[in-house]
């Protein structure tokens, strides 16, 4: 492996050469390479499908000083945000786009966000990405926990700049591109979590894999929670779009969502006054725990499949925010350890798991862009295969009776 810092300084090499690694950010060295770019050409890689990876700094407004990394694998253009916990802002592929149009247009520097504002809703000041990690100390709606302290909406990791960012390109076919970032949640006496996030794209493929490894570096067990808050708007989301998953139980998050329970699989068009309906899903999985959810457009010729594993992420939140376009017309497909209730409501549900001292937890998700009827149908067939003849319980009552 060749390890290079920044623009290509060769640090070491070993035979056989199998990957080129670039360190773009490393707090241990106080290093940030600044604007930076490599491509299959510049690397001398003979990929049939040219690719490139670029890091650049944004300016202006509340995005001042934010770094993004744009990976173009020849088929997809993915924008990652090291400054925001290695979140994925968007993924473009041909006419399709994974992502959505939030009223929040800038990619907001956490320096300008106060998570405690609006009673713990400050996270909403920067919410506009396709993939937001909601964790890992806690997740869910803000609430005063049993210790008397406010836990703000969806935790802190997405508003934490990555401490290390590395790009690795395999030097053997299919020349996979890996962008890894370490995001630390460290607070003396409270938290010593370190997460190696990882995204892998293979040149030419209309899919990518997220592989994260959360480690509790403390000498004490601790609670943790994570929701992989994947968000999809137009063009996939539209009136008549559908969501499919192998469902063991689905229930409304709150009283308002009760009336949407029977039609949970279909989406409305942009609907003024709709606000949001949220559903809590216990998915079925195959013998290995693998399962998926599929969003398809009305014509059934475009969509996205989200694969995950219930041993890692046992529950699925479905967020249907089919309000107006300007308000943020979007649906969330959100595998997680937990639902979106505040922590004190999830603990009795058994959805605030423990990570032991020194333990690591792995989370693997795969997002596949479905670009024609065949690909959509293949994904739906996978859903059916997992569901089989097993029944779906439509539970009418929310799991938690929230105070009014």
């Amino acid at each position: 492996m060749k390890v290079r810092i920044g623009m290509g300084l060769l640090l070491c090499c070993a035979l056989p050469l199998q990957a080129a690694e670039f360190v773009l950010v490393d707090t241990a060295q106080g290093l940030d390479v600044g604007n930076w770019k490599v491509s299959s050409d510049s690397l001398g890689i003979k990929s049939k499908i040219p690719f490139s990876i670029e890091k650049k700094r944004l300016h202006g407004g509340r995005q001042e000083g934010v770094d993004v990394i744009v990976v173009d694998n020849g088929t997809l253009q993915m924008t990652l945000v090291p400054t925001r916990g290695m979140g994925i802002y968007e993924v473009r592929g041909g006419d399709l786009r994974l992502g959505w149009e939030s009223p929040v247009k800038e990619i907001v520097n956490p320096a300008f966000i106060d998570l405690e504002s609006r009673g713990g809703l400050g996270w909403l000041d920067g919410f506009n990405e396709m993939l937001v990690r909601c964790g890992y100390e806690w997740t869910g709606h803000p609430g005063v926990d049993d210790d008397g302290r406010l836990k703000s909406l969806h935790g802190r990791v997405q508003n934490t700049p990555a401490s290390v960012v590395r790009v690795t390109v395999d030097e053997t076919p299919p020349y996979a591109i890996h962008v890894r970032g370490r995001v630390d949640e460290k607070t003396f006496k409270f938290s010593d979590l370190s997460t190696w996030t990882g995204v892998t794209l293979v040149p030419g493929e209309a899919a990518f894999t997220v592989e994260d490894k959360l480690t509790n570096q403390a000498d004490y067990d601790n609670e943790y929670q994570i929701i992989y808050h994947g968000n999809f708007g137009a063009p996939l989301l539209e009136e008549g779009a559908r969501i499919s998953a192998p469902v063991k139980q689905i229930s409304p998050f709150n009283d308002y969502a009760r009336k949407g329970l029977d039609s949970w699989q279909t989406y409305l068009g942009p609907t003024k006054g709709f606000d949001e309906m949220v559903f809590n899903i216990v998915p079925y999985s195959d013998a290995k725990g693998n399962t998926l959810a599929v969003l398809e457009n009305r014509a059934g010729n475009a969509g996205v499949a989200v694969d995950f594993n219930v041993k890692q992420l046992p529950v699925l939140t479905l967020w249907k925010n089919t309000d107006t376009l300007q308000q943020g017309y979007v649906t969330g497909i959100e595998p997680g350890t937990s639902y979106a209730y505040s922590t004190k409501y999830q603990r009795p549900l058994g959805l605030v798991p423990t990570i032991k001292a020194g333990e690591s937890k792995h989370f693997t998700l795969r997002y596949q862009l479905l670009r024609d009827k065949g690909e959509v149908q293949a994904a739906l067939d996978r859903v059916k295969a997992v569901q089989g003849s097993q029944p779906t319980e439509l539970r009418r009552d929310p799991l938690v009776q929230l105070p009014h």
Copy 2:
């Protein structure tokens, strides 16, 4: 119009050439031009009065990374602060200065401010400008609103960096200089406000105009509030200085201000232990809604006139903070939609107006430096003309009985 990015890249041009526009910041492009300067000379403009516009970045302390724009129109030197919501730090003109000496000396980067601190008084950590916009989501003292959430002092816009900054210079006499900045208040589910602030100076004139356009980009009506918190200290403010305005009703903000009601028009010198007295004023206006307030020094040979329109800004807060010099000896002349009570107290007064979905609200103010007895007298005559023979009600009781 010629549109140039930064140091002068010509993007397009049309005949006849009428203005040169420079884009200094644009988040849509991720652009910030950095340090930058133009002058009438460098633009090849044959103005009899040379002028210049300069953008520069400040460093050190809590002002690290703050950008200021200094406009010198030959008569006034105005310092604008894009990083702080396009606020105006100060305006100097000969021996006079619009502005004041706050104990807060640095122009503070919002990254270092937590508006929620001290029970919602964090805004005070950065308060030192001549013109502060207090809005637009809400204004006034901090308080827990009816929704159970704390609204921090005077809203968030002044602590929001501008997303777009443009400088335009008319290429025909009188070669007016326009500095426009767009400041966005965007929070998913809560706010989708975008304000184009604008300041215009004409070379040689001892006056400037503020023209702001607030747009609710949401598909829903929302509340809004704004106070144009204009602040003036020495040398205009001194013992015996006077404030004049056509007043329909004036009342003390709270019990403490009751005893200052009768002498509301005159100022004390720096007075230890005075703290502040605040008065709520309903101004008279002319048939078009135009009105003004005039601050003059003791000799009546220097002052400032603040013109505004009651159709846009129906009420006027007068803030007399004639405490010691070091404490911040200053008076606020503050046209607004609202007084300085917290939101829940203003709603019953009808002072929390609505901005409809897609609606824009315009706010135009003019600040004129009065440099001799003649200019002062002319402004006072305008006050008298609006007041005419209409009576002034001195209301003894505050509009709101605040809890002790």
Copy 3:
């Protein structure tokens, strides 16, 4: 004196030349010199012991944009942090190190810290330095004060970037190096404190002096508090390490610390589940008020002596955080005006002193690395000399009965 800005611009000079001064940061000029270095060589100083002073900017994670100054006096390498209130991150000297290993590894930019988070414990997100100033507006545990406002843990000064940073090198033997930084705590209506911090190192000496001058620039008296939170981990701290001080009274901070009272002078090794024990000490002093505390390792051949003056800092907090290494194995030797209770508990104890309008308070501390048995013994002898035959009261009950 020669005064130079940044890389050596000569501003003025006077005969005889006695010191070279460099202005590295000055908010009044909007100045930051960026990366910068001088050495005895580059200064043409004929010191037998070469020395250097370097300023550099860190990148990545939550340390993005943090500046550090590394002073190498030939014997010690000290890392100062202007961005964090001129705190001292660590001091290395041969095999020894003053400092500790916090789970928080980065030197965190205050822009990424919200002191109000976790109920006022946000300070813990950045706590990892050898010397943290806890003040000056208030100190101690978070708590809602009598005014109804939350005072966050240990005040704000350590999370305030320095407004002015100056390096001075004496040009006559022993060529002392002075790093001075002004840190302002300024909030309109609340605080107008300005502190000139100062650190002096003499080339070749294994000791340094902290000389701070706090000035209340307001026209009003105000409360103030300060704890010099000096923190020491391995290798000095280990099982069997000892703390010595001339003690008039020592009492447990809370009920948990009661059981550690009798063994207050000795340390456990890293102990899972220990958490922390805190003791409140009233030290004896000599006729001038001078006193000290000495930490020594088990073998008694290495340690640190902390000298202070009880007229400035009348009480001493001893913090024994002998939990596991990963949790942050550390002891705090913390001379202060106050203990670590929240403000409302300290006021009845008389430990919330007043600083008058315009008054300055001086705080001088000296930290000496003890590198052999002789140096340790000499320091212990100084402790004994102050203690003499005076008794030590072991008070069993905490001074404050905290609510459960």
